[in-house]
């Protein structure tokens, strides 16, 4: 009986899935067993139900037998529920009158006894009949869309995503926590495999972003909190005081000259110094000075005040305050980038004890024409040009025991680039790379690596280094060449460690605020590893760049553009449709205990303080059912998954 008291006419369609199901489950017997089951009007089987002829047959049988509900006994509903919902909808049946009985993943794939598996399949289908008998016809929940995007992070991925979304014609808020956009890419010297200058290809993009009429650039800002749901987010953004008005700052640099505070320069990876009032690098966007309050002597003019005194355009304002403001957006692109694993994890390579043992980004700065050595390869300790440079790969990567289990993906290529660039700058020097495997899966990548070996005579030694230590000014590397079976000891003037890429330190806190899903290593989790690689599991969030996992520049740009296209898809819809299989509250039964509020992972439920009952935000509710299971009074009943339905299903299974 359905809700209207009318008797239901159910059709059962049992799929063979080739031999996937049919080799273990006797599909014909299953179809036969259901023929006379109460409520079932028609039952049959077919070799591939999801194929065009299979779908057609369902359509025809619905019309011929005047069916009003359908059960497809086949694979998991995550695969083809949508397919068959579309089929029944074509025949004029409400899609929520369709159910999938999973007899593949939950039966034929996990059993081998044909007799028992067939009996189990029959039970599974019968239980679905009991469910369908009580299914309601449902309509999707509709909601509007704010056509405005938030992009978090101003590295290459964030810039690309922001530009693409803006070019689609939608407004973009680009939030960057640092004083300038540019990310790690602006720190790089040259890029593999073409060796074009990173700054030369990056700066035009930065300028384009700053001038785009649809992009609001918010540097030195941080996202405080996000509430709401897909299409309708509310974002609190914190503006950190810069103490310099970008519109008035003429970049004369007078303030920097008088500032007495000297601190380590992050842009140059600590290989040089900057002042407390500074511009991170000459091409910074926005082009303005920033006063780094953590290192300033103090804003009271009595303590210092030198910069303000010399600033002719009166751009410096010590009274600037932190501000928090709220914005509405419909989609959020998370492009918060990566950090390098710190060397203090690797005591066997000296930790951070030795000045001339560097990480890859430090070496990028040494190679860069705008770097601390003006592009001349000099070692930090004494400024000498190193004649022997050893590069060590997989530092902290591919180590399931003590460090990170994954491959950082880009190190093979950038190490080849480092060795090659070093040889170009120091032709009489020797570059040696210790590697485990050289991974060059990318367009023109392997050719690049071979060039390093053949033309630049970089010596590749297959084996992971065990120890790096310094005695006097000699750095000694203990490695092995597994190809010759020799333990190798080597003297070096400089060592470059290809440190593993890791999730950003501050990013972790941000991701918690966003309540966005991450994987075991802290990288953002995609909704589906194959089919939905740029969407988060959390609706309305999109992923771009290394926050999702290690990747190189072309891949980052491609992913950012894909994320932007997905944002475009979302914004192109008139309204959003949301699954109606949510868990409403029966206010008469609800005691207001609030247990369901605490178990809801989506923040969809809250206690109405006046009525003392729980209210449900239908859009936030993902229909997971946690609340329904926890509700002690039965007030929380999931649509088409009510307690009564579940009891009937259990009964059908126990009865056989």
């Amino acid at each position: 009986m359905n809700g209207n008291g009318k008797k239901k006419k159910i059709g059962v369609f049992v799929c063979h899935c080739g031999v996937n199901i049919a080799s273990v489950v006797d599909v014909e017997r299953v179809a036969k067993a259901l023929e006379n089951y109460p409520g079932v009007e028609f039952s049959t089987n077919y070799v591939y139900m999801c194929s065009e002829p299979g779908q057609k047959m369902i359509l025809e049988k619905i019309k011929e037998q005047k069916l009003d509900s359908v059960i497809v006994a086949a694979c998991s509903p995550t695969l083809h529920e949508k397919t068959f919902q579309n089929v029944v909808e074509l025949a004029g049946i409400n899609p929520y009158q369709l159910e999938i009985a999973n007899i593949r993943e939950q039966d034929s794939w996990v059993h081998s006894d044909k007799e028992k598996a067939t009996a189990k399949a029959v039970k599974i289908v019968k239980s679905m009949v009991e469910k369908v008998l009580q299914n309601e016809s449902l309509e999707p929940i509709r909601v509007g869309v704010t056509r405005r995007a938030l992009v978090i992070g101003g590295g290459i991925s964030g810039l690309q995503a922001a530009l693409d979304i803006a070019d689609h014609g939608y407004e973009v808020l680009l939030v960057e926590k640092g004083p300038s956009i540019g990310g790690h890419m602006i720190q790089l010297s040259e890029t593999f495999p073409t060796l074009d200058c990173s700054q030369c290809i990056m700066t035009p993009k930065m300028v384009e972003v700053s001038r785009h009429p649809k992009i609001r650039l918010l540097t030195y800002h941080e996202v405080e909190s996000v509430s709401g749901f897909v299409g309708n987010f509310k974002v609190k953004i914190r503006k950190k005081p810069r103490y310099v008005n970008p519109d008035l700052c003429t970049l004369c640099g007078d303030c920097e000259k008088v500032c007495p505070q000297i601190v380590s320069d992050e842009f140059n990876m600590g290989l040089s110094f900057r002042k407390a009032i500074y511009m991170p690098f000459p091409q910074a966007v926005p082009g303005t000075y920033t006063l780094d309050i953590d290192n300033c002597l103090g804003l009271l003019p009595i303590r210092c005040g030198k910069c303000k005194d010399v600033c002719e355009p009166k751009a410096i304002n010590y009274d600037e305050q932190e501000e928090i403001f709220e914005e509405e957006v419909g989609a959020i692109v998370v492009s918060t980038g990566y950090d390098l694993y710190t060397m203090d994890h690797l005591g066997e390579y000296g930790g951070e004890r030795y000045e001339d043992v560097l990480n890859g980004l430090e070496f990028e700065r040494i190679l860069s024409a705008s770097g601390p050595t003006g592009g001349v390869v000099r070692r930090p300790s004494d400024g000498k040009v190193p004649k022997n440079v050893v590069f060590i790969q997989c530092c902290g990567s591919r180590d399931t025991e003590n460090h990170n289990p994954y491959c950082s993906k880009i190190c093979c290529m950038y190490t080849a680039k480092h060795a090659m660039l070093y040889k170009h700058r120091v032709p009489d020097g020797h570059a040696t790379v210790f590697y485990i495997d050289v991974r060059t899966g990318g367009k023109a990548f392997d050719e690049f690596y071979q060039r390093a070996v053949e033309e630049d005579h970089v010596l590749y030694i297959r084996g992971k280094v065990s120890k790096v230590f310094q005695e006097g000014d000699r750095i000694i590397v203990w490695g092995v060449d597994t190809l010759t079976g020799k333990k190798v000891e080597m003297e070096a003037d400089m060592v470059v460690l290809a440190m593993s890429m890791v999730k950003t330190e501050g990013g972790e806190e941000l991701l918690k605020k966003l309540k966005i899903a991450t994987d075991a290593n802290g990288w953002l989790a995609e909704a589906h590893p194959k089919l939905r690689p740029v969407e988060s599991l959390n609706a309305g969030f999109f992923l771009a760049g290394c926050a999702h996992g290690p990747k190189d520049i072309p891949e980052t740009v491609a992913q950012a553009s894909a994320a932007a296209a997905k944002v475009g898809d979302l914004f192109a819809q008139k309204e959003l449709l949301h699954e109606p299989t949510i868990v409403p509250v029966n206010e008469e039964l609800c005691s207001g205990c609030g247990i369901c509020v605490t178990v809801c992972p989506y923040g969809a439920r809250e206690l109405d303080p006046i009525k003392k009952v729980v209210k449900v935000n239908e859009i936030l509710c993902e229909g997971c059912g946690a609340c329904a299971a926890a509700c002690p009074s039965g007030a929380a009943q999931q649509k088409n998954q009510t307690d009564n339905q579940i009891f009937s299903m259990v009964k059908a299974i126990l009865k056989g």
Partner: protein
């Protein structure tokens, strides 16, 4: 205060200087060291395969004796004994089945009552209540460096000491280890706090050759040579350590190292407890400084003779 202390075989015979200096220093700090009754050899090597599980019986018996005598912790100075006792304790804790098997072995122990001369076999099981500590850990975590400092009588600031950990205090990683295997600090902290100048050198956690010095002496000589060469190169006057076997390889065998490596210049090797005792003002005569192959006394004479007022 009474404290259970397991010296191990070598300390009773070949390196009494380690035993004597430990006792003297701990007495100054207010501890009376008590040895578990009827202790035996710990086995020196922790058995690495399940088939040799019977090797756990001896160290368990020692721990059980401490437990029977009401001790909740036992300290050692010998790195080998520390390694075996601690790993045994951990292994039993981690694997209840192993614990049961070993306890079954212990049940066969026979005790002769000294009064009645009767055999009794009702021996207790070991219940995993003893905490195995290396003396350096005990000093850091139980006594505290501040208290040690307040007892210092001699200024060792002129001694450039390289701390040598060797293997057994640090590895296997995750099972034993008084500090992080590749970035240890506890020995340096200890030396700093008793007033020495610490010399960091990159061979501090390399192997000295261990028992290979008997089966393949030349291979061990090379390993020991590298350690002493590096310590010397980094400016150390002496090497401090806690293992009697490392002491044998690095001190007693210096004559054989010299035979193989002509540029080798020797170096005095001291036990960390000897330095501790010196700092605490213990009479030098107690410390067995005359037992060393390389006489440390000339280098030690660099110490200020004046007593510090604390």
């Amino acid at each position: 205060m009474k404290l259970h202390y397991y010296p191990g075989c070598t300390l009773k015979e070949k390196t009494t200087n380690l035993d004597d200096s430990t006792r003297a220093a701990m007495e100054v700090l207010g501890y009376e060291l008590v040895e578990p009754e009827n202790w035996t050899c710990c086995g020196a090597e922790f058995p690495l395969t399940e088939e040799k599980i019977v090797g756990l019986a001896a160290p368990t018996r020692i721990l059980r004796q401490v437990e029977l005598e009401g001790g909740d912790k036992v300290v050692t100075t010998c790195a080998f004994c520390f390694n075996v006792l601690k790993r045994t304790n951990e292994a039993l804790l981690k694997d209840p089945l192993k614990h049961k098997r070993i306890n079954a072995y212990l049940r066969d122990d026979i005790k002769i009552d000294p009064l009645t001369k009767k055999k009794t076999t009702d021996f207790a099981e070991y219940h995993e209540t003893v905490w195995v500590l290396h003396l350096m850990e005990f000093i850091k975590y139980q006594i505290g460096y501040d208290k040690v400092k307040s007892h210092i009588k001699r200024d060792l600031a002129n001694l450039k000491v390289a701390p040598y950990y060797g293997c057994r205090l640090l590895r296997p990683a995750g099972e034993v280890g008084i500090d992080i295997p590749d970035d240890p600090h506890i020995f340096e902290e200890f030396l700093e706090n008793i007033g020495c100048e610490v010399v960091d050198f990159p061979f501090k956690q390399e192997c000295c050759g261990s028992y290979i010095s008997v089966s393949l002496p030349d291979a061990a000589s090379e390993a020991s040579y590298q350690i002493l060469r590096s310590a010397r190169y980094c400016g150390a006057d002496m090497l401090a350590l806690s293992c009697p076997l490392c002491y044998y390889n690095l001190d007693r065998r210096q004559d054989r190292i010299k035979e193989r490596f002509f540029d080798f210049t020797g170096m005095p090797i001291l036990f960390f407890t000897q330095l501790l005792a010196l700092a605490l003002g213990v009479d030098e005569k107690v410390l067995g400084l005359d037992q060393h192959y390389y006489d440390p006394r000339p280098v030690l004479s660099k110490m200020h003779k004046t007593e510090v007022v604390s």
